[in-house]
Amino acid sequence: MSQVNRRDFLRVAAVAVGSGVALKASQPGAEATVWQIDPALCVQCGRCATNCVINPSAVKCVHSYPICGYCDLCGAYLQPAAKTRDTGAESQLCPMAAIQRTHIEGVYYQYTIDEELCVGCGKCVKGCAMFGNGSLYLQVKRDLCVNCNDCAIARECPSGAMHRVPLSESYLLKTDPPPEAQG
């Protein structure tokens, strides 16, 4: 008690430096971040399906109904070379048959993504962006994502679309017109 030896001094110094770094690092008041895809940057390369650490991927296709044109000839649902517009497996673009097509009225159909089946490959997203309104897009489902330190998809994303956003800004949703359709 009466005298402080060198080792004790070093110990106290280490704890002091550690606490300083901790205080600087924790940045009191700053918000936690989560991984999200920016739909405007996504190029549908298909790596979300293969690079996620959980299998199947935490990235799923999300359907923005207010953007959808409810087309009969849907570029996201049907193979480009499909002979008939039906629900046959040979007509479907989705390799997992994760898109359900239900008739509403007249020539209009509703398309729903079955999240249990979706693997996030983005084939339908590409089809919809090419031939339709772009109402389909890929997004990280936060209930599935384990929020890795270093997202394995972000590491390989060719367009930098996967990035951290503050918790309050998730989800990054697509409700505006797609950039291709703008002037």
Partner: protein, 427 residues
């Protein structure tokens, strides 16, 4: 018929400006449904993870138990049971994330990036093992770290590496630590997470290379105890610094050592210092002169290593994905390679021009030039400190655990005949 065509024409004329006005909207506007259809509501669930407080609590309890088993109970079997628990909980159940080894990158990233705060869970995962090491030695390595645990269980027929080779290989964790920090500071990703060899086993899936590296390390680990911990783990560097100054590090014989050498034979990690009883190899005067020489050499070695680091920045800069992209784009432009990669295709479909890419790549390379020089200087310092420490011969009577390198696996107790509970005492 005529009426039909005129109607069509009028509607077309009306439609043309309408189409122009709708340029900002969609190709196919949402139909006005007559059947009163309403689209389903979209559900965006929040995170559904294990409460992180549980993880921190488990870590704290495991650290405390580990210290208790090593220092008080001096029982390897109980420690081994705890190791298996940690492997199952932190490894297979929590899938190896968040881990203390990777957390040092979060700390480094948050120091340079104000938009990336460290969650308090990660902060505690970083600090708790270090604080424990400061008091009890590397009890985290002994039983809490899932990476250490899986290797501990694979240490079956350990061979003793020659001491000099062991000490030289122990420089690699410093290099890995330096590279990982460089990568984080220059915004090139988390290397420690990307090259975690065992995470593929914990998640039961991963790239082929990741699983292969893990399998190779585990196979090597059968003969060379804990290869990742000893010769790669960057967090182990910080732990060893703390452990060197630990207050209550384990001691091999509680009573008098009988110099039976069994503990040294038992230690698979080369972490036992043997007695040095003969006279010092150099006289006091010669020793002082040698130390002086090393001290004078230190700045020169640091400068040399910094120069080597700076020269290697061209290769190191490839850690950054933009540099790899730039090299690919340039090769495509020169016609050296056929076709496009997904990256170069994505770049070409974007808005960035090649000159802009080149300019940003130049900036990154400039940063890497400076960073690599610092990395080299750090390695020079590490090498010189190692040489100086090796040159200082300390008089030692008994076999002792090296506080820096010992991972508190408790094998030495199990073999020590002086231990009270050991049943194999013959004399």
């Amino acid at each position: 018929m005529r009426r039909y065509y005129s109607t069509l024409l009028v509607s077309l004329l009306v439609l043309i400006p309408a189409v122009h006005a709708q340029d900002g909207a969609f190709r196919f506007p949402m139909p006005e449904f007559e059947s009163g259809y309403h689209h389903p509501e979209q559900v965006f669930p929040g995170a559904d993870l294990t409460n992180p407080r549980v993880d921190v609590l488990v870590l704290a309890v495991v650290l405390a138990l580990s210290a208790w088993f090593v220092l008080r109970r001096r029982n390897r079997r109980e420690l081994l049971a705890l190791t298996v628990f940690s492997l199952v909980y932190f490894g297979f159940w929590r899938q190896g994330c968040v881990c203390s080894v990777g957390s040092l990158q979060n700390i480094a990233a948050s120091l340079v990036d104000p938009t990336f705060p460290v969650p308090w869970v990660v902060l505690l995962f970083f600090l708790l093992p270090l604080i424990a090491a400061l008091f009890f030695g590397r009890v985290f390595c002994a039983a809490a770290c899932p990476l250490g645990a899986i290797q501990e269980l694979f240490t079956l027929w350990p061979l003793q590496l020659p001491r000099p080779l062991d000490r030289v290989l122990r420089l690699f964790p410093y290099l890995y630590l330096g590279l990982a920090l460089l990568s984080v500071f220059l915004d090139s990703g988390f290397l420690i997470c990307a090259y975690d060899p065992f995470i593929g086993f914990f998640r039961q899936g991963g790239s082929f290379n990741m699983l292969l590296a893990g399998a190779l390390l585990l196979t090597a680990g059968i003969f060379i105890g804990r290869p990742y911990c000893r010769y790669l783990c960057p967090y182990g560097v910080l732990l060893s610094w703390m452990s060197t100054f630990s207050k209550w590090h384990l001691r091999i014989p509680e009573k008098a050592c009988i110099q039976c050498k069994l503990c040294e034979e038992a230690c698979p990690y080369g972490a036992i210092d043997f007695p040095v009883t003969e006279a010092a190899p150099l006289t006091r005067h010669a020793g002082a002169r040698q130390l002086m020489l090393f001290t004078v050499l230190t700045p020169l070695v640091i400068l040399l290593c910094a120069w080597i680091g700076m020269m290697s920045h061209v290769y190191l800069a490839r850690i950054h994905s933009d540099i790899r992209l730039t090299e690919r784009i340039l090769a495509e432009e020169r016609g050296e390679v056929e076709g496009m990669t997904i990256e170069s295709e994505a770049f070409r479909s974007g808005n960035t021009t090649i000159p802009a890419l080149l300019e940003s790549a130049g900036k990154i390379q400039e940063q890497y030039k400076r960073g690599s020089a610092w990395l080299g200087a750090f390695m020079g310092l590490v090498i010189m400190v190692m040489i100086i420490r090796l040159s200082l011969v300390r008089h030692r009577v008994d076999y002792e655990a090296n506080k820096t390198h010992c991972v508190s696996c408790a094998r030495c107790f199990a073999y020590c005949p002086v231990e009270e509970e050991a049943g194999c005492v013959t004399q």
